[in-house]
């Protein structure tokens, strides 16, 4: 935990990568980049590089997993062996299994699952490079992939974390800050409904600090939400253009 007790915020109040405490890392989003998936998106969030691909809604197999009254969402969060400093075995770890579940739980509130009985959607998330905050970046990309697959939604889901470094609440921790820092609060959010769909925490925070953190995280979510919407528009603009060109 306290392996390298460096200062995470310098005298000027800036973080290791020069950000201010409430500053996001750069976020880039692309929609529809996987030709074979029904919907897909790619995110670069800081040094995180993550692909999400969705297949469906399609008939659910095996049949005993079908639900007569709703669509089933299956979700796999997976890290590439080369995505982290020490090679990760490709077999899913307990952490990956847990994240697959919480990410699914974070995305479900946006979907009208009752409109697609007996079907299934398979959502695959591949972390190609990890640098702290992969679950949030995964959710941001995955929600776009579901939208790209044509699924009607209550709202896009966007996610961002806030945490505590050097005794200060800070937005969007990168890997080193997450490891050395005192706490991390990842949040997934639907801005239109003011709805929190993922909320986790580790570390230690007073209730007041937690309040501050979740507010900051939601502000971060809102900023990324704009980028998300832009990415979706861009994709559809391109498609419209293509249709015109044909």
């Amino acid at each position: 935990m306290n392996e390298k007790p460096k200062k995470l915020i310098n005298k000027k109040g800036l973080r290791l990568d020069g950000r201010k405490p409430d500053e996001l890392r750069p976020v880039k989003l692309k929609v529809g980049i996987l030709p074979n998936a029904d919907g897909s998106a790619y995110i670069e969030h800081g040094k995180n590089k993550i692909l999400a691909g969705a297949f469906g809604p399609r008939e659910m197999h095996p049949k005993h997993l079908q639900r007569a009254d709703r669509m089933v969402l299956r979700c796999r969060y997976h890290m590439a062996p080369f995505s982290v400093p020490e090679r990760k075995s490709p077999a899913p770890s307990r952490r990956e299994n847990e994240l697959s579940k919480v990410i699914r739980d974070a995305l479900l509130p946006s979907l009208f699952v009752e409109n697609y009985p007996r079907t299934g959607v398979d959502l695959y998330i591949e972390v190609l490079q990890a640098d702290g905050g992969t679950r949030c970046a995964s959710i941001t990309a995955a929600s776009l992939a579901l939208a790209d697959a044509g699924l009607p939604m209550r709202d896009l889901i966007v996610a961002c974390a806030a945490g505590k470094v050097d005794n200060k609440i800070a937005l969007d921790l990168m890997d080193t800050e997450d490891k050395i820092g005192a706490a991390d609060v990842p949040v997934a959010y639907m801005p239109n409904l003011n709805a929190v769909t993922l909320l986790q925490m580790d570390g230690k925070l007073s209730p007041k600090e937690f309040d501050e953190a979740i507010k900051m995280a939601i502000e971060g979510c809102k900023k990324i939400y704009d980028i998300q919407k832009e990415a979706l528009k861009t994709k559809y603009k391109i498609i419209e253009q293509e249709e015109v060109e044909e």
Partner: protein, 263 residues
């Protein structure tokens, strides 16, 4: 319970909650009665069994020698595993832990780890070479709802019941001595789960309530009232206002629970 019966029951639950009541006569913020028995497994270094309503969870602790992680050479190791034993529910199946069991183990793990409940530095035998490993095995024996809180309470109780062998270091080799000492603990996290049904928040959901529940949030608190772990679950959401309410509800419940637990 047949499918029709289930639906009738679920309607009843929803209706009761609507009227701020619950089918087992609790108020929305009531916790079920629980009893904890420590030391039930004599062959384990520590153990505790909890009954929370009809939910029954047994936690056994084994303490063994092993090697530390390379990045924490001076710290002992804790590992938490949960088994949803198939005799606890017709919905549990034999086989390696599934998603639900893994999530359960990891929530309990985070509560203990992030509160720094175990003084892992005192579990170091020879730095970088040999440390004690504390295995926390959660064994769910009957599922009647709120496995998270029940498992978390039983786990901390079991740790409080755990003894480890006395030893000396002679020439870099560990020599076991007579007698036992208690496992060194620095904190005693209390975990409280709040469920949401039709926009109402309820404390300590029972099994049938879980079936109609939108979502849940589990929050662990340290001795000094800080939050040390949190997990939202379920396919629904909480508005930011509901998050604040849930937080307050969990906080006051944790204080009451801590008194009952005498931790």
């Amino acid at each position: 319970m047949s499918s029709l019966l289930t639906r009738v029951k679920l309607k009843q639950i929803e209706k009761a909650i609507e009227e701020e009541k619950r089918i087992d006569q609790r108020t929305l913020s009531d916790y079920r009665i629980f009893t904890i028995e420590q030391g039930v497994i004599q062959k384990a270094e520590g153990s505790a069994k909890i009954f929370l309503g009809k939910t029954e969870v047994l936690v056994g602790i084994k303490v063994e020698k092993g090697t530390p992680y390379p990045d924490t050479p001076n710290n002992g190791v804790m590992t938490v595993n949960a088994e949803l034993v198939p005799l606890a529910s017709s919905k549990f199946e034999p086989g390696p832990p599934g998603e639900q069991a893994i999530e359960l183990a990891r929530i309990v793990d985070r509560g203990i780890r992030e509160s720094e409940a175990i003084d892992t530095e005192k579990l170091c035998i020879v730095p970088g070479k040999q440390v004690f490993i504390v295995f926390v095995d959660i064994y769910v024996l009957n599922h009647d709802g709120n496995l998270i809180d029940a498992s978390a309470m039983a786990a901390v109780s079991a740790l409080m019941n755990t003894k480890m062998p006395n030893y000396e270091i002679v020439d870099d080799e560990i020599v076991i001595k007579q007698g036992y000492s208690p496992l060194p603990l620095k904190d005693h996290p209390v975990t409280v789960t709040i469920g949401k049904i039709n926009d109402k928040l309820i404390v300590d959901p029972g099994l049938e309530e879980e079936e109609v529940m939108d979502s849940r949030i589990s929050i662990a608190f340290t001795d000094d009232g800080r939050i040390c772990a949190m997990q939202k679950g379920g396919s629904g959401y909480f508005t930011t206002k509901q998050v604040s309410e849930a937080m307050k509800l969990a906080q006051s419940t944790a204080e009451t629970q801590r008194k009952k637990l005498k931790w």
